[in-house]
Subunit: 259 residues, 2 copies
Amino acid sequence: MKFFSPLILALSMITGAQAGLVEMSVTYQQGGATLEGFHVYDDAVKGTRPAMLVIHQWTGLSDYEKRRSRMLAEMGYNVFAADIYGKGIRPQPPEAGKEAGKYKGDRTLYRARLTAALDLLKADERTDAKKIAAIGYCFGGTGVLELARSGAEIAGVVSFHGGLDSAPGMTAAVGKIPAKVLVLHGADDPYAPTEQITAFQKELTDAKADWQMVFYSGAVHSFTQKEAGTDNSKGAAYNEAADRRSWAAMQAFFAELFK
Amino acid sequence: MKFFSPLILALSMITGAQAGLVEMSVTYQQGGATLEGFHVYDDAVKGTRPAMLVIHQWTGLSDYEKRRSRMLAEMGYNVFAADIYGKGIRPQPPEAGKEAGKYKGDRTLYRARLTAALDLLKADERTDAKKIAAIGYCFGGTGVLELARSGAEIAGVVSFHGGLDSAPGMTAAVGKIPAKVLVLHGADDPYAPTEQITAFQKELTDAKADWQMVFYSGAVHSFTQKEAGTDNSKGAAYNEAADRRSWAAMQAFFAELFK
């Protein structure tokens, strides 16, 4: 499968926000649905390179994920931000909760959408297929964990303030989790009760997965997103220290994966 | 207080294991006890520099802590490995458990010993007193957390597979923990039951301390110590990945503290 046809390139290439970055919208299909992802890379990097899949939070692929994707592209990665929901489906709360719920309630569908995006990224000529990782935020954090649980043949996944719950009958299978797992978590995240954390850690340990989990004090849900404001009492808020530290932890993780 | 008199230097300076490192034994006093610590620094570094206190595991100050101290000195720190137990007191199990228990059961005494070592390091002419951190292993992990709980005016502490329990009436006080806290922990550590972890996180959160905690899968107690062997079923064992990752996490933490 070829990722970008010359036609798509011609139609959708736009000037990157940063000098050297090339970015474009990419329309693709899964299960009859039309999806619109975002591809960005540094044109100054030649040949294949490590690649990064980015999975969006509950409001769908937004400027937030595009900004993170550009940050990764500036680090040299070939980056594809997936669209799980479908072209034009970019809901705000409370609709966002319903839309996310569709996929959290149907992990088979969620995995199919994740895998479709991963397959595109894998097939791109810039991708070093042995050096792929995925990161996700909130809903997308759940997504990258689901990708790991699916047994995806990638180097690693990073969840930022993601939900940790698994679906019945779809938990991680013993010895079938090639991806190393890094979970970056707000210690005060009200959306992840202690029982969920304990169950998640037990699930991955029982599966003999290689996992790490970092807790950041004073951080609630959405701690990497300035858009969330700074009122912790709302359960979702930006936290500058946790944002900075989690990005650094991700980079250290990648340094190990892609050394 | 002057740290090293010319006399002590003349008596105890020995050739460093690494070119550029100067290392020596240092005898000092606390509460009538004679203690023998270990000082190491890179002589090529001029003037004051960030400084590091190292607290030993349950068998007392050993070659293990000296090796870690040298690694830190090679990174440019002025390093002092404390002696909590007293000169010549270097017990092996099961005596080590009894000796450690003395201090874990008397946190006032433990804090006094920790503070004595910190005061020496602070007073040394090579130390930038605004840039001091402490690291500790197992028993010493408990120690550096105790140092943080005591309100010590240092930049940060790092616990490697340390015990997390506090003593009644000596828990962290609200707003009185200047040190940032990083806890590096084996997810399968049998010496830290879930209740202890939960209580510790609550204690530090309630105190409004800046803390982070990292869990490493597949790691039990003593995961940084090759001397512990590799049989996880013993409850204490070396884990190469957790060792490497925890050292890197510590370095990232220092990069933030001393930027």
